[in-house]
Symmetry: C2
Subunit: 209 residues, 2 copies
C-alpha cells in the first residue's frame, strides 16, 4: 500500500462516523474483513455490504476508504499477496546462478505454510474465475514480479520477462497440481525432493540451461 | 464413455417419456447441455434443473441417465476433456526421447484451438473452485494421464508418475499464465518460440536431463 494507513484513498459521499466506526484501526479492520470475505466467497460472490458487516461499519465507509469493489479487492489481495511479493528479493539477492533454487524454495515456503497458503488460494480462485480479479492479479504479477526479477538477468527486457514467466509457469503449475487440485504423487511427495528436481529447471528458464 | 450411447447408466425412478424426450439423441443432448451449463456457470452454480431445461427434458430424466449432479459433471467433463485425454498417445507413440516435444505440441494444440480451449477452461475453473469437481478432475488426470504416460518410462511406477506430474505441472502453469490469467509477455508470445523453450524442459522431467 502506498498511502499512509488511515488515509482514505477516495472520497465518495461523507458517511457520518459513529465512535465505533472511527479510529485508526478502522481501515485495517475493513481490509481484514475484505481479505476474509474474498477468501471465503471468491470475487463474484463477495460484496461490499458483506465486508462492511463483517468489519462492523457502514458500506459507505468501505467505499469511502477504498472506492469500488474492484479497488477493495485490489487492496485486499495486495495484502494477501504480500508474502509472495517478497519473491523478487529471492532473485535479486545473492548470485544469479543460484536464483532458481532461492526462488523455488521461496515459493514452496509460501505454499507449505497454511497461513500464507489460504489467501494465495483465494487469489488463484478469484483470478481463474473472474476477469476483474484476473486483471488485478495480472497487474500485480507483471509490475511486482516479472519486471523486478527480470532486471537481474543480463538480457533485453522482453526476453528477461519471458524467461521469468516461464520459470513462474513451472512454479504456478506445481502449486496448482500439488496444493490446489492435489494430484498424486505430487501432492504428498516430500517437499525437498520436489525442490531438488524443480530448482534446476527454474534456473534453466532464468539463465539458460 | 464406456457404456453404449442411449443406455442409461443408472435407473432412479421411471420418468414417463414424451415423444420429444425419448429417442437415441436424448442422452447426447443432455450431455451437450450439461457441458454448456458447467462451462458457463461453473460447477457450483450449475444445476440439474438448468441442464434439463436446456436439453428440453425433465430433471428426472437427467438423473435417470446420469445419476447425481456429480455424476452428470463427471460425464460432461469426460467429453469436454476428451481431446486432452489423447495426450498419453503423444507420449506412447514414437521414441521416448521425443515424448517431451510431442506432449508439449499436443497441449499447445488443444489450448490454441478455441473450440477445445473453452471446455478446458471450464474444467479448470470448476476444479479450482469446487472440491467435488476437483475430485473428478483429479481422478481423470491420475487414471487417464499419469499412469498411462508413466508406463512408457522405464522406471518404477511412483517415480514415473512423479516425473509425468512435474512435466504436467510445467504445461499446466503455462496454460494458467498464457490462457487463463493472460500474463504478458507469455500470453502474446509466438507459440513456436514458447514450445522451443518448453519442450526440452518437459523432456527433462520425463527422462532426466
Amino acid at each position: 500500500m502506498s498511502e499512509p494507513a488511515g488515509e482514505p484513498v477516495r472520497r465518495r459521499g461523507r458517511p457520518s462516523r459513529t465512535a465505533a466506526e472511527s479510529g485508526p484501526g478502522t481501515r485495517q479492520r475493513i481490509l481484514d474483513a475484505a481479505r476474509e470475505e474474498f477468501a471465503e466467497r471468491g470475487y463474484d460472490k463477495a460484496s461490499v455490504r458483506g465486508i462492511a458487516k463483517a468489519a462492523g461499519v457502514d458500506s459507505a465507509l468501505v467505499h469511502h476508504y477504498f472506492g469500488t469493489k474492484e479497488q477493495v479487492f485490489a487492496a485486499a489481495i495486495e495484502v494477501a499477496f504480500a508474502p509472495a511479493l517478497a519473491a523478487p528479493r529471492a532473485v535479486e539477492e545473492g548470485p544469479v546462478d543460484l536464483a532458481g533454487e532461492r526462488l523455488t524454495r521461496f515459493i514452496f515456503g509460501v505454499w507449505e505454510n497454511p497461513a500464507t497458503r489460504a489467501p494465495l488460494l483465494a487469489i488463484v480462485r478469484s483470478a481463474v474465475n473472474n476477469e476483474t480479479a484476473a486483471k488485478v492479479f495480472r497487474r500485480l504479477i507483471t509490475a511486482q514480479l516479472l519486471s523486478r526479477m527480470g532486471r537481474r538477468l543480463d538480457v533485453p527486457e522482453e526476453e528477461a520477462e519471458l524467461r521469468v514467466s516461464l520459470a513462474a509457469a513451472q512454479l504456478v503449475g506445481i502449486a496448482m497440481l500439488r496444493y490446489v487440485v492435489k494430484v498424486e504423487p505430487l501432492a504428498s511427495a516430500d517437499a525437498e525432493s520436489v525442490i531438488a528436481r524443480v530448482a534446476p529447471v527454474v534456473q534453466g528458464h532464468l539463465t539458460g540451461a
